[in-house]
Symmetry: C2
Subunit: 402 residues, 2 copies
């Protein structure tokens, strides 16, 4: 019997699991994840801002595992030993495999900027997202006692997709934050510091402006074209003037880092040919050096032949990759050939708070409340696609007509 | 204990049920429907064309009924006796109520055109939709024996939303039909006869053209600006020239009537102030004459104050109406007041086959495969909104990443 290991229970990994479990064949699956639950990485900003509880964006991995076919092991992957066809786990176990689907996900990327790890909060999993929320609450409570003005300041570093969605959710939570601190809403100041000036390059200027100007109208203060040079305790140091290189300081007791992500560091420590934790994969999403090792999701770089750049990492492509990897394993097991992986984005929609969103469906711009409805419909669908079926219902995620 | 009757288990009725069952209060609900199952009226065209089985668009009403609060009775409503606060059923039962939510749905409307009932197929419920499909199959089989050219012709009367979606699905089924008949695909001819020339007035011309020209490219023959005068057996008689009034005949052994719908005839027989089975309701969606009778869904006409015309009947407004009626009943029970019903369309998307769609999200036009993805996400969400939760999963409706 062939052994398939799936490393990581994110969008890509669980999608592959779902597809494999739906097929019949002479194989056994071992799924490894460091947690006992799956979380929706695209919704971490809501946990960080406190607009969703972690229960609403997680479900037990055991709910989607068919025990007759799949063994689930809760452990951290330490190393993929491709020559030996084995995986070393932090609990000392070594798993042998015929096929590996590596879907180890992302981590925060500091780009070498000093002080990020020590002095900024990251938002990369449920724990870190919850920590952001608890941290903000603590500052608000502290303000009520100490009147330290920096307690009321929240800085989001980075105005990418995640940063923008986080800002939208923070706006929604601001009244609750202000109440705890005992101040008027507008006294809770939210900043966004970003190196580039043209934000959200995946959208055209009009659409990006729609999103940004909504956030500005709600009181977000944008510092764009200001590369961050260092994060000191409670202080963001950014370049204020490119010509002279002059820097300025912005003090705040909450500093959240969302400027970028890279793939899991297991990719580097296992000796994959990677850059920032991402491996440029073959047409079949396999490691160029090992045909039995699939690399999918945020650790994978699949080249867009048109732009000659890898597709950006999104939940959408991760789901498609997981699905393809499973199909290709099944084809290999049957001795069939299937065409290479292709990807065409359906578009993407950014939510800013609970009732506003903007983005693209195909090439069409959508915005406002209807866009927010579509965004929720798409997110439910993505939750289903990983197989987290019982929970969607329990969570009332479908109930958007209220 | 107060008694609430809900008449009809369509979008509006089940949405009201869902909302009431989710609340606590000193009331009992009786739900009446002529079937034991709910069906998705917006998907009947797929059953008619054979691209979906009826199982995929229906679920058991018992699955969404909480027996501790709600009694379900399978029966036909014969009359709502508003003065007596009672409902007469065709099984002889008389139900007394404190509040009635009337959501009896639609029926086909012939507009007095001769021969429609006798010589055209309607598509108003699961039985009639299935009958369309079986009828087409029978013609194809007949052709294989008799070579009667009319067996290969399908006429869709009406190019409204439903007609257009039906045409899209028929295109998808055409290869299967042709195979049964033993002919080349293009020999199965599909026509659409429609009185007006500007199709799909809810969309702008560019978007409507997108949909129509796709259908034309796939071989649909449109006869627009041709009002139907009569349906004779296997023959559609339409006005060919408005000036002269000349008529022409189109012969076909499958004629499907989709030109329009009216509300249930129970509205008329119960003495409601109605027009084509629809009652112009108050701001609270009640009968203008009886405050304890809510009229929602396809039997309800709620005025759009901007256009001074009733909103078109759609699943979207039906769901919103059912929700509001339940909320208003709960408010009445508590002696609370709530603001009147308001409606703002999120837009609408028409599917043409499984991978194409076009429509509006808010005011933005979307089209193509991404639109088709959005359409499916929205339809899933509408299925959830009525509470049909277990079935969505069993049906694999969520599994669109394949």
């Amino acid at each position: 019997m062939k052994e398939i290991v799936i490393l990581g229970a994110g969008y890509a990994g669980l999608r592959a699991l779902h597809r494999l479990q739906a097929s019949k064949g002479d194989f056994h699956i071992t799924l490894v994840d460091r947690n006992t639950y799956h979380y929706e990485a695209t919704d971490l900003h809501e946990v960080a801002a406190g607009t969703q509880s972690k229960e609403k964006i997680t479900y037990a991995i055991s709910d989607v595992v068919k025990p007759t076919v799949t063994t689930f092991i809760q452990a951290k992957v330490e190393k993929v030993n491709r020559e030996e066809k084995s995986v070393s786990l932090d609990n000392g176990q070594v798993l042998n495999y015929d096929y590996a689907i590596v879907s180890l996900g992302f981590r925060s990327e500091s780009f070498g900027i000093a002080g990020v790890e020590d002095n900024a909060l990251e938002m990369v999993d449920i724990e870190s997202a919850e920590k952001v929320y608890q941290h903000i609450l603590a500052q608000m409570k502290d303000y009520a006692k100490t009147q330290n003005p920096d307690d009321l300041k929240i800085v989001v570093c980075g105005a990418g997709f995640t940063g923008i969605e986080l800002l939208g959710s923070l706006v929604e939570s601001r009244p609750a934050f202000a109440k705890i601190a005992g101040v008027a809403e507008q006294e809770v100041e939210i900043f966004c510091v970003e190196a580039v000036t043209r934000l959200l390059p995946m959208f055209n200027e009009e659409l990006a402006d729609y999103g940004i100007s909504n956030l500005k109208n709600w009181g977000i203060k944008f510092l764009t074209g200001k590369p961050i040079k260092e994060i000191k305790p409670s202080t963001v140091i950014y370049q204020d003037d490119k010509e002279t290189g002059t820097t300025k300081e912005l003090s705040a007791n909450t500093i959240i880092w969302t400027t970028g992500v890279s793939g899991s560091n297991v990719m580097e420590s296992s000796g994959f040919s990677q850059r920032r934790g991402r491996v440029v994969v073959s047409d079949n999403l396999t490691d160029p050096d090992f045909e039995n090792v699939y690399i999918v999701g945020d650790v994978s770089a699949f080249m867009d032949k048109e732009s000659n750049r890898p597709y950006p990492t999104t939940a959408q492509i991760a789901l498609k990759m997981g699905d393809y990897a499973a199909k290709h394993v099944l084809a290999q097991l049957d001795g069939r050939e299937i065409p290479g992986f292709t990807f065409k984005s359906l578009g993407s929609v950014a939510s800013i708070g609970n009732t506003h969103a903007f983005g693209l469906v195909g090439k069409s711009a959508i915005k406002g409340y209807p866009a927010s409805f579509v965004k929720k419909a798409i997110m439910d669908k993505s939750l289903f696609a990983t197989g987290g079926v019982k929970e969607v219902l329990a969570k009332g995620r479908f109930d958007l007509y209220h």
